[in-house]
């Protein structure tokens, strides 16, 4: 069938095997030359794309819940949204969640995703007590922190096997509300200072205005927050709007310019304002519009996300934001975030420093621009996030991930390198 991920680029034809039980997966793995797992296709690029995919979403049972410790065991196709639907009202939330709840547990582990609290809680792998996966030879293996298989699989982009189930430890909450503070800054220097000032807040993220020029480069709205304590756990997932057709992309930019300016000029008149918002508004604003990816038109789009070490973040970001603003390409808003320390996983993206993410419509000249940005990223010791990527070169990728050889060797030694391949893993020769 026709297959693509969130960026809708590329679109390919694939054979789909739906995961329902381990016996048939084992038989499939044995007879299939090459394949890659596919969760809910919320990665932006080609990490879940290949001629043959194992569609893991149907494999989605809850297996056990320890209400004392807050540990949920479930199959890999369960969506984060399903966990929230059942457990928020019982006072549990995810320790780590990305900006969408529409991803599978398998996808969360394979990309070792992170959220607004990376600087305090780290990546998704931090909350994995244990997981099981099926290796390409059909063997089912469990692993936990400390095992090589664990550190290869978390962030391993599906290239070590099919994750089958995991035990996830959750966070106790006493409200479905978050007390949010919005701080507005005038330039990158102020933005960095604000991140430092609020770094003890558990959740933080900034929207950067990419049109700003010269002294105003890096102007932002920084949003920080923490769960309220009002005992209100009546969580009901919001009904979403849907975009029924593909959209001209200028419409999105106009919308986000309006939204940003409204917030920037109206909402925080003296620089700081406070709001009480619910889980969906705070963590998953984009999920409120189903299929917003169609807004970029049928040619698709990509998200460029890189991270720079803290020492070089200021200079690197300034240079990159300058280039983006000069190019006239890119979405109006970019997401900036201060990250905490890197973990021990071979290919996890985060490191201590600042990361920027923004969307680009696929068009001629785009990849040349992104190559030029890559050069700056690499020069400053940074790297590109694989789960968002569809075009990075092998060289850029390798320079950003010092443990790539460890990962390659691990795959070879365990006979994973032939069977498990995605378009991305072939492009960057993982």
């Amino acid at each position: 069938m026709n297959l693509f991920s969130w960026g809708m680029y590329p679109k390919i034809k694939s054979n789909v095997f739906s995961l329902r039980d381990t016996e048939s997966l084992c038989a499939y793995a044995e007879k299939t030359e090459e394949f890659i797992p596919y969760g809910n296709g919320r990665s932006y690029g080609d990490s879940a794309l290949a001629d043959n995919i194992v569609y893991t979403k149907p494999y989605n049972n809850f297996l056990a819940f320890d209400a004392q410790e807050g540990i949920l065991e479930c199959q890999a196709g369960v969506l984060l949204s399903e966990i929230l639907d059942t457990l928020v009202k019982r006072g549990w939330f995810l320790k780590v969640t990305p900006g969408t709840k529409l991803i599978t547990i398998g996808g969360a582990i394979a990309s070792d995703v992170h959220g607004k609290n990376h600087h305090t809680e780290g990546c998704f792998s931090e909350c994995i007590e244990e997981m099981t996966l099926m290796l390409p030879d059909g063997e089912i293996k469990s692993c936990k922190k400390g095992d090589a298989l664990f550190h290869a699989t978390c962030g391993g982009m599906g290239l070590t096997g099919v994750i089958l189930s995991a035990k996830i430890s959750l966070k106790k909450i006493n409200s479905k509300h978050i007390n949010q503070t919005t701080i507005k800054t005038k330039n990158l220097k102020e933005t960095f200072e604000a991140f430092e000032k609020y770094k003890d807040m558990p959740y933080s993220v900034a929207w950067i205005d990419c049109l700003a020029k010269d002294e105003e480069i890096g102007k932002c709205l920084l949003m920080v927050g923490d769960f309220a304590n009002d005992g209100d756990l009546e969580y009901k997932s919001k009904k979403k709007l849907t975009i029924p057709f593909t959209f001209p992309s200028f419409a999105l930019n106009n919308l986000s310019v309006k939204a940003f300016n409204w917030l920037y000029y109206a909402k925080a008149p003296n620089g700081i304002s406070k709001q009480k918002v619910d889980i969906d508004t705070f963590f998953y604003p984009l999920d409120a519009i189903g299929d917003w990816n169609k807004i970029y038109g049928s040619g698709g789009f990509t998200q460029y996300q890189f991270i720079l070490p803290k020492e070089s973040s200021f200079d690197g970001l300034k240079e990159i934001l300058g280039k983006i603003s000069a190019s006239g390409k890119g979405s109006f808003l970019a997401v900036l975030k201060l990250y905490g320390k890197a973990n021990d996983n071979y290919l996890s993206f985060p490191m201590e420093g600042y990361s920027l993410a923004l969307d680009f419509k696929i068009e001629t000249g785009l990849f040349e621009l992104l190559d030029a940005l890559d050069e700056v990223v690499v020069r400053h010791g940074g790297r590109i996030y694989l789960t968002k990527d569809v075009r990075v070169s092998r060289e850029t990728f390798e320079q950003g991930y010092p443990l790539i050889e460890t990962f390659r060797t691990f795959r070879k030694e365990n006979n994973m390198d032939k069977k498990l391949q995605s378009l991305q893993s072939k492009r960057v020769c993982i």
Partner: protein, 243 residues
Amino acid sequence: MSYVLIIGAKSDIAKEVARIYAKNGYNLYLAARESASLEELKQDIALRSGVEVVLKEFDITAYETHESFYSSLEEKPLGAIVISGYMTEQKEAQKEWNKTLETINVNYTGAVSILNIIANDFEKERRGFIVGVSSVAGDRGRKANYIYGSAKAAFSAYLSGLRNRLYESGVQVLTVKPGFVHTKMTEHLDLPPKLTASPSEVAEDIFNAQQKGRNVLYTKPIWMVIMLIIKHIPEFLFKKMSI
């Protein structure tokens, strides 16, 4: 809370229907062949929703067992949802009588056999709802799929009559006509994404339509329009077409 009986509980659509009824507080009888393999789903539902789930062995073509099956349900259900179905390649069904017969029996004869029993009970109790999952394929016979389609057409006609009969006793009958759905049944087919629903979308539509007391549900809704057009193509043209 009352029980809902789901027949053909191993189907991908049924799994999501079960979850959504459980989420809304209904206890469940899950009936299927080799129902022991539903243990995991039972556990899943118990964890998500905390309702009672009872597994029941049931073969929709074993007509002689249907009376005793229904009387074995300790508490009679408030609703019954027939989701089981069987679709084979049209070409195979044309060649092999057994496959044609299986198609008719699973989709029509068996469903009638069990629903006759349930309808009598609900009519007597003057309460309850019956949901039958038919198909848009039953709206008009096409060369690509008319053996399955005709069995579904018969099932749709049965449900329509049943609705008419049970109206007076206040028993709701909902006919569900899915278009394309991504499930085991259609895994080998290349389905157009815009016209294809996921099992959870279908389940949500079914739940909402049943709760609102609706009669006929097309899911996705666009299928109502598509089938309206297809039904109105004059026969002299239709017979020459390949759709």
